[in-house]
Subunit: 366 residues, 4 copies
């Protein structure tokens, strides 16, 4: 019942702080005989890695992942896979002055109130660096999924950054990997860059919406009531730093719809049931329909900004806080590979859970 673990059969426990010697993920329950080399995981870490482009923090971490166990001769053995990422560029002097101060909008104060102590170096355990471990674990999940359901594809992208929103009529799946914002519209990239640079100059930050899609998920995975596919996805996304809202399919907008508008009508296609629309986001009653599984979440603007904000010190005295250091003006950008990783972990977990309870057989329509 570890508070730092996620998943049922495919179970990921992350560990480590921003400025400790290392961080990582202990991954248990991976099927055996999945090909696994560090490079397969490294590609996703490189996507998340800070210092990559001018839109993200300039902290320079190679984020090189080492596989310490659970892999032999290039294949998973079925035993726990330990993934370790050593911290190299820690520059903890940047953070020293905040050891007595609570940054507004940060977990500084709540960690202290809970534990009576805190590792103030770079936010310690509450740092977004923890998500590097998720990305590594997600890389394992992706390889395992490949072996189970060839063709299953997972892709994340931004749909909003502050005032800017994508134009869905120009949605281009192939453009996503071609730009630093992971937006599905090559034509909008310049506008997004200009917006972000202006924010940076203002010493401010901004929120974002990230959407992540799993395409090719077979119908029938998930479970009723508390082990719902959407329940686990909501938990997965809400557990990412700075996330304040999670939506499945129509999301919050479902509240505005009528029943006659919202229900996706069903037709019989060549390979099984098909739907006229996907308001449901690929999930009905907690179980996948075979349509795209669509999850969306909002990331709040980081509170690590150079604009001074009122706060207090540990002793209760008033102060003003400016967060120096190297921070992203929009953490939503780097949340994209994290979202993909969480989606991969949840989908794999439910594939295994389904196989465990039910095996290969399931109800066939038509």
């Amino acid at each position: 019942m570890s508070m730092n673990s996620f998943g049922h059969l495919f179970r990921v426990t992350t560990w480590g702080e921003s400025h400790g010697p290392a961080l990582g993920a202990t991954v248990d329950g991976c099927p055996p005989n999945v090909p696994l080399e560090p490079e397969m995981l490294q590609q996703w870490l490189d996507k998340r890695r800070p210092g990559q482009n001018k839109n993200t923090t300039q902290r320079n971490e190679p984020d090189a992942v080492k596989i310490l166990s659970g892999v032999f001769d290039g294949m998973s053995t079925g035993t726990p896979i330990q993934l370790m990422i050593e911290n190299t560029d820690q520059r903890s002097k940047d953070y020293g002055e905040i050891s007595q101060t609570f940054r507004p909008g940060h977990a500084d104060i709540t960690y202290f109130q809970k534990y009576g102590n805190r590792d103030y170096r770079g936010g310690g355990r509450s740092s977004a660096r923890e998500t590097a471990a998720r990305v590594a674990a997600g890389g394992v999940a992706r390889e395992a999924i490949k072996a189970l359901v060839p063709g299953l594809e997972i892709k994340g992208y931004m749909t909003r950054m502050g005032e800017l929103e994508i134009d869905r009529s120009r949605f281009d799946w192939d453009a996503i990997d071609q730009n630093d914002f992971w937006i599905p519209d090559a034509g909008a990239v310049q506008e997004w860059e200009d917006y972000l640079q202006a924010l940076r100059k203002d010493h401010d930050s901004v929120g974002a919406v990230v959407e992540v899609v799993a395409r090719g998920v077979p119908a029938g995975i998930g479970a009723p009531v508390y082990g719902k596919l959407d329940t686990d996805l909501a938990a997965a996304m809400m557990s990412i730093n700075a996330v304040k809202g999670v939506e499945i399919g129509e999301g919050m907008n479902a509240a505005r719809l009528k029943g006659s508008e919202n229900a996706d009508e069903i037709f019989m296609g060549e390979n099984g049931p098909e739907y006229s629309s996907n308001h449901a986001g690929g999930i009905l009653g907690g179980i996948s329909t075979g349509q795209d599984v669509v999850v969306r979440f909002a990331v709040k603007p980081t509170s690590s900004i150079l604009t001074p904000r009122k706060s207090i010190r540990k002793d209760g005295s008033a102060t003003e806080v400016i967060t120096k250091g190297r921070h992203d003006p929009c953490v939503g950008i780097r949340a994209v590979p994290v979202a993909e990783a969480m989606m991969a972990c949840v989908v794999l977990d439910h594939l295994l859970l389904h196989r465990g309870q039910i095996g290969e057989n399931q109800g066939r329509v038509g």
Copy 2:
């Protein structure tokens, strides 16, 4: 690792189908010596109960809860509490015709695709009747909370029904319990009633947004990373039937804000830290701040409507579906007591978890 269980130390497992002999909740981990009588739970079930007023389904179930174990001489013993609600008004003939048909927007098809069978009577396990068991369990959680943190208050209310939204400038906490919609504005009730009656006449349904607040939660409960207070709340709410989006504090709107707008500034008050605002919804880094914990979720419009919708039968043949039977035009209304119950379960669970790991001591500011 039951897919029908929720919670860590305070653990609720629900069971039962819409038209079986009974349904209920197995509640484990309740502290001992909590006063518990059936009436303490019944009051919340009565709030959720169908057939109460003209705005909800006319199915008439007394929803009388029985305590079968875990209580002796009117006090919890610390052993599992079995809560049973017998089904009486089942009228399963209403549903017979849909045994071969999948209703659009319902879990009929995915349950069949997963399990290769389904209890089609009233939706079986996917029926919203399952939430009666949650409400009963939530009643236990409320009594246990009362013993641990006197004065902690949990209240849910609707903030939107289709096109109607509450006017927050007229927010009246005391009005909530005085109307059938649980809205915090007595002056708006008539408008909401008229809107719902028009929908009913149109044989349609509509979605809703429910907000639930826990007031008086001590600072410091929750945990980092996967056992976050907001992660568990997101899972709790998303697990309720028909929920498609969950928000904490600012929610999806956080994506539009700048860092300078979003961070809640901190001041020292008489009894500890205070905040200039509550964009965070009472949670920072997964841990409570001591402010109101604010959760909001969207419920989709029920797909059980009299308007015909295209679908298929089990054999793949095309059909049109009209759902007769007794259904709520806005299931959001009855989701209010369910949301309160889930909030109570999560808050109690985290109070116990905190005490387990850390005891009574925690970091004191000032």
Copy 3:
């Protein structure tokens, strides 16, 4: 993380007290489409039932099990199965006088020290009546196993009662079900009966050893380190009331052996590997070998005896305790069906876990 639950994917939570209105088991994770009728469970409850013969307690409970959920049209649906057994013959007046007294060797004192209260009626939650719920759940597991691994057989029997031990040279598998002691030797039954009647006359009780065998378990189920098949079996058996020791295969005697004596040599048989012996009890490194899985445990003599024993009252004052009421002179007899039920639950759970992580494929020798 319920303290009253057992199992990973096939998860059983029992609830209820000896003299409450009912007790039962909430069974989650059962595969769907398993034929299930109450009679299939009742047969095992009848085997465990008190009042059956002159060797067990005279409390007369029909122990009629009701299936309240999770079964539709005679088949499991894959959703939680609620099994309820109502208490009818409670005669709680027998127990009234012990409400202030702690019986030596009983959980009376520790329950009170833990919870600050206790349901003293018949031992409340600590009563062996709880095992009726396990037997019902084990019946579900047996039916699910039948569908997964036809021919897998589970049988328990006594090997010792006090000074009497079975003669393994006379071991007769078919005799087990033919006598009230479940011993594999028809010729010894009269001696065992005489021994027990003498004990009863002496107002005393005696311990026992029960052995339970699973025959036909496929090689490869189980898991390393903490989810070992033998770890889960040890926990399963130790969790039964009054059990003080658990052995796998050679058990405690392994301490006396040399490596050259203990290792089971391996040969290639027609259908796979075969072994010269089974010191290992069918488990190596936590994983089944395909041989008989052999578990053995000791049950202490019940402390509910008519012989007076020194003790104290709740207020600390000294007293002497005689336990009237209806009690078994050897609770080991009724532990046999309980042991079988626990074996069935563990084996099914590991069959499902194996399928979840690994599917149908596994390493084939030869």
Copy 4:
């Protein structure tokens, strides 16, 4: 639900293989503000370390533990503690020849049958080297216990090695730490050494019994039914490599006793209830009595011996196996610190669980 995790609130997940780059333990749920330095853990690893004396394997591993996370300024923070032990002296050439052969009495064959692969270097995950990680985690548990219950003492010792058994009339608690066998009788050490050297010359090995005692455990920890203190202890010990039997208190011998002999009579002492004897091993109904908690287990003789044994190869062909390499003639010796570590983990876990559900209050006798 990791198969490589142990514990409820204090949760240990071990990872790593005998000949991989490293192994370790991910420890979650440790209370914050526990003083933790590597040396506090190293002392226990040194006790378990091979190559220490002539009675154990000559593999020379420094077993130096590194703390990678969860500790800041010498204190636990309450977040996951990653403990890593790098493998240095791997000499994997010793093992190469067994990559195609299954050693009798080893997990070689079952791992292959389960996973379809295996890391054959030194037994991979099934190696007793995994227990080094447990010992490190147990060191953390000991420090946390110290902060919670000062004076609680945990000590393990051998009571049997093959034909030799300790003489309980000469039991000397203080002698345990003074000899290489951890036996409570200085006078017997020479005899044990001679016996072991004779075995080594015979190229054989032998089993052992280890007993571990927790003294000073407060009354009231544990829980009924499946989360019993004895259930968790049985699982903890049975999960150790080569363990084939576990006993609590009187253990298997309870089967030979009468109720009048077995029940521990209760008296009122100055500081609470006292008992005339401790047949129960400090646990009644799964809950501690306040007496010594006494657990005993048997370790089988290692099958890694130089005496040739019949076996088969992966292709099914017959062969004879001699295990060269560096192995302990009696692995029971090194099981002592492992047993202590598991006891520490279980006791701490139940201290936290008790505090979580019940707080500091409990029932007071007298």
